[in-house]
């Protein structure tokens, strides 16, 4: 029983992290129809910043890591994606795939292939015991960070003019422009928001592992992208829920699969993904009304 609760807590934090990553991808997708493979490189950029600046204190490192992700996101948007507005989603996907590959190689050239380590937030690695349960502070932090960001994002999207414009653009870009939403600004804001989410993911992952290498963000991005698509990448809530589900499921699988097959964990996740795509191509959490509109 305790083992079950323990694995549930781990799975919650795993789901929270992937949910944040998927939400970051979903935010950009909603506005510019771009399934951004290079989201992982935003995570990596912020993780490197954390690793290099942590010794200056968290109050320097954390803001810097956010800034670095935001700058990189804006750079990607200005140099590449803004020039591909009229291209189809497949072209955008290939472009972001190329950008992701390119940035990984740039990291390799700049920081080397080996891992860079830094004790990011070592206090979080401790665990507390409550009634026989060993709860890692980090798991709690992951969930708390996710909840805080989600509430903040929700407030931003529903209570501010800019947020409403982002929502409008995500729902129907053409119509939003017709009624006076400034396209460039909204797209910029969505990239910035997705970068902030990427920085949060980087923080949690760095606190977990304490090491970063050039392909740090790749596997989580693939899983998050997959999660966003099966949840329904068209809607923010769908992307978030899908990401959470994939993270939750893969964490549960690694706790409960027998030792002999645990190496195949991702295969089960991917197989489930293909199944979901077949049954609900537009996403698990998408209602019929939204499917018909697109």
């Amino acid at each position: 029983m305790t083992q079950l609760i323990q694995s549930l807590i781990d799975a919650l934090s795993g789901g929270a992290v992937l949910g944040l990553a998927a939400l970051g991808i979903g935010l950009v997708f909603g506005v510019v129809r771009l399934a951004n493979f290079a989201h992982g490189e935003l995570i990596t950029a912020s993780a490197y910043t954390l690793a290099f600046t942590w010794h200056l204190g968290w109050f320097v490192a954390v803001p810097l890591s956010i800034v670095s992700a935001v700058l990189l996101a804006l750079l990607m948007e200005i140099t590449t994606f803004s020039r591909l507005r009229t291209a189809g989603p497949a072209t955008l996907l290939i472009a972001s795939f190329g950008l992701s590959f390119l940035l990984q190689r740039v990291y390799e050239l700049a920081f080397g292939n080996n891992v860079r380590t830094a004790p990011v937030a070592p206090a979080l690695a401790r665990s507390v015991e409550i009634g026989g349960l060993r709860i890692q502070l980090l798991s709690v932090t992951a969930v708390v960070v996710a909840v805080v960001l989600l509430v903040g994002l929700r407030l931003f999207l529903t209570r501010t003019t800019m947020g409403l414009q982002v929502q409008a653009a995500a729902a129907d870009f053409t119509t939003a422009r017709i009624v006076g939403v400034r396209a460039g600004r909204v797209i910029g804001v969505s990239f910035v928001l997705s970068a902030v989410l990427a920085a949060a993911v980087a923080f949690v992952l760095m606190a977990q592992t304490g090491a970063v290498n050039p392909t740090f963000g790749v596997s989580i991005t693939i899983l998050a992208l997959v999660g966003a698509v099966i949840g329904g990448i068209d809607r923010l809530s769908g992307a978030l829920a899908g990401g959470f589900l994939v993270g939750f499921a893969s964490s549960m699988l690694s706790s409960w699969l027998p030792q002999s097959v645990v190496a195949f964990r991702d295969s089960y996740v991917f197989a489930a993904v293909i199944l979901v795509l077949l049954l609900r191509p537009s996403g698990l959490f998408v209602t019929r009304a939204t499917t018909e509109r697109t």
Partner: protein
């Protein structure tokens, strides 16, 4: 008379010209020393993968990240069939007993690689081919993930995780690789002229209209996927015999990226694009590798820093997408060199063709059609 000849020769030229091009480039490479020969051999293997990728993606317009999975399966099959049984027994202890004893001539092994690649593709196609656009891309990516993980970790069919299959015999040679690559080009060219491929191109050009005139999109996609799986499997066999070490980590996302970049560089929508893209990309790649090592030009040694190569290659893909999304060929086939009329069925308009599932925006609203159900 000349017009007649031209009309007959022009379509054939799009094949013969390509074969001559590949042959000539390989010939030049073979004259530049033995290290260049090996690099050319790798380039030809990649060319076959790109041609396989084109066979599906170019014809159907559906993006596939999954073809390297069939390459991996083909390489695995060829590797297992060509490594000496005694060597397999000592190196791959967990292998299924029947796999230990299985051994075949390398020609047969490559064919078997193609067969297994085709079978795997045919098995998954009925599921994957129902999807479109982004979903299809993600699903093929998931396929690559599953296949790669199984090959990495399932030690009953290969090495233990993190290890590789060694001892693949050195039998292939540049010339044989060239012949197989030419054969692959011929096969895909023939497929492109088939009825099924024409219908599939129609579905690519206009998603909603094609089924409306009675084309079964899924069936033709499945056929294209399975056939291209065979070509990819053969490419895997060639890879195993060229690399002589088979390892799952070499047959993963990076190879997917490189081959996709080649296809995009040349132009997704024509066989010439696939071939030209593979040649140009490989030539550039080889040049950069040598530059990283330093090239002696008279009294000077020209060199570029280590690690620049993949960055340049990545930049080229992104720049190509930005400035010439149709690729080098822009979707055209190789044209008859002297004043030939354009080939029938090949887009020649100025608009660069794209692999896309978004419909062109039509100005104004389409006429509203209201269908009311008769009262029950």
């Amino acid at each position: 008379m000349i017009g007649f000849l031209r009309a007959r020769l022009a379509p054939a030229w799009s094949l013969v010209g390509l074969l001559l091009l590949v042959w000539a480039v390989t010939l030049v490479a073979s004259l530049l020393g033995s290290s260049m020969q090996l690099q050319a051999q790798y380039a030809l293997v990649n060319l076959v993968i790109v041609v396989a990728l084109f066979m599906f993606t170019g014809t159907s317009g559906v993006l596939s990240f999954g073809h390297v999975a069939f390459v991996a399966v083909g390489a695995w099959t060829t590797g297992l069939l060509t490594i000496e049984p005694a060597l397999k027994e000592s190196l791959l202890q967990d292998l299924f007993p029947f796999l230990v004893d299985l051994n075949a001539d390398w020609r047969l092994a490559v064919l078997a690689g193609g067969l297994v690649g085709g079978i795997v593709a045919a098995l998954v196609a009925p599921f994957l081919m129902r999807l479109n656009g982004l979903q299809a891309g993600i699903a093929t990516f998931a396929l690559l993930g599953v296949v790669n993980e199984i090959l990495t970790f399932w030690s009953r069919i290969g090495p233990r995780s993190g290890q590789s299959m060694v001892g693949v015999p050195d039998v292939l040679g540049l010339q044989t690789t060239l012949f197989v690559a030419l054969a692959a080009i011929v096969a895909v060219w023939l497929y492109q002229r088939s009825r099924s491929a024409r219908l599939l191109r129609a579905t690519r050009e206009d998603g909603p209209a094609a089924p409306a005139v009675g084309i079964n999109v899924t069936v033709h996609r499945i056929l294209a996927f399975a056939l291209s799986g065979i070509v990819a499997g053969v490419a895997g066999g060639l890879f195993a015999l060229t690399n002589r070490v088979v390892q799952a980590s070499q047959l993963n996302v990076e190879l997917t990226f490189v081959t996709l970049a080649m296809l995009v560089l040349g132009g997704t929508l024509s066989l010439s694009g696939a071939v030209v893209g593979a040649i140009v990309f490989s030539a550039l790649d080889i040049l950069l590798v040598n530059l990283q090592g330093g090239i002696t030009l008279g009294a000077y040694v020209v060199s570029i820093p280590q690690g620049t190569r993949p960055i340049v290659l990545g930049m080229i893909l992104v720049l190509m997408l930005l400035f010439r999304p149709g690729g080098i060929t822009g979707g055209r086939e190789l044209a008859w060199p002297v004043g030939a009329p354009p080939l029938p069925g090949v887009p020649v308009s100025g608009r660069p063709p794209q692999v896309t599932d978004r419909q062109p925006q039509v100005a104004g609203r389409p006429p509203q059609v209201t269908i009311t159900r008769p009262p029950a």
